[in-house]
């Protein structure tokens, strides 16, 4: 069964460093998403991406964040200069017709 994959599973970085979180969505899907979950809190929407551009972003998704689909398979989230409060689980999701979203296993980001 096709699934969304994410790498790495855990990333530790120093405050101020750049990180890139990688996702491989399900191959025939058209809609891509990033969500984050701070430990013990609810899952929050960051950004959605369709037809090679951002379709919607949240207030969290400020200038420090960017997304890219560099080739036909990968979907990346870049955080330019990490802050302590960026420590969270980051989930990638994809969808074919924009209804049911399939989630990856997540990347746990720890900013020291």
């Amino acid at each position: 069964e096709p699934e969304v994959t994410q790498t790495p599973s855990h990333q530790v970085t120093q405050m101020g460093q750049e990180v890139i979180l990688r996702c491989v969505p399900i191959s025939n899907h058209l809609y891509f998403y990033w969500y984050r979950q701070i430990l013990g809190q609810k899952v929050e929407f960051l950004v959605s991406f369709y037809n090679n551009e951002i379709s919607e972003k949240s207030e969290i998704f400020d200038d420090q964040f960017s997304v890219e689909r560099p080739d036909g398979s990968n979907f990346t989230l870049k955080i330019r200069s990490t802050k302590l409060e960026d420590s969270a689980m980051y989930f990638c999701a994809s969808s074919d017709w924009g209804n049911e979203q399939f989630f990856g296993p997540g990347t746990r980001l720890t900013v020291l």
């Binding site: 809609y31 998403y33 979950q37 609810k42 929407f45 979203q101 989630f103 296993p105």
Partner: protein, 116 residues
């Protein structure tokens, strides 16, 4: 703006019994989806069940069923014959239906413990 509220932070149930998790939402939209996601300790997000707002019939997936009350904006999840593997955090989520691929808006979650 849409909001989703889960008023039960924690619940517990005995194995083989039935439990109902509550969820209410607020929206002015008419076309939307509602979901329940399960998050076990691994933190993977697993879709449990989906309901389309225009369908009056409540969705059912094996031991999982929903009670969708559109007018009351309520969407509860019933788990029958609870199993130890049902122990997890459960999130209710709302998604507006549009052709841009709507975002999911999640509730705060209910932590369910199934006791042997």
């Amino acid at each position: 703006a849409q909001t989703v509220t889960q008023s039960q932070p924690e619940m517990s149930v005995q194995e083989a019994e039935t439990v109902t998790l509550s969820c209410t939402y607020d929206t002015s939209e008419n076309n939307y989806y509602l979901f329940w996601y399960k998050q076990p300790p691994s933190r993977q997000m697993i879709l449990v069940i989906r309901q389309e707002a225009y369908k009056q019939q409540n969705a059912t997936e094996n031991r999982f069923s929903v009670n969708f009350q559109k007018a009351a904006k309520s969407f509860s999840l019933k788990i029958s014959d609870s199993q130890l593997g049902d122990t997890a955090m459960y999130f209710c989520a709302f998604m507006k239906k549009d052709n841009q691929g709507g975002k999911l808006i999640f509730g705060q979650g209910t932590e369910l413990s199934v006791k042997p």
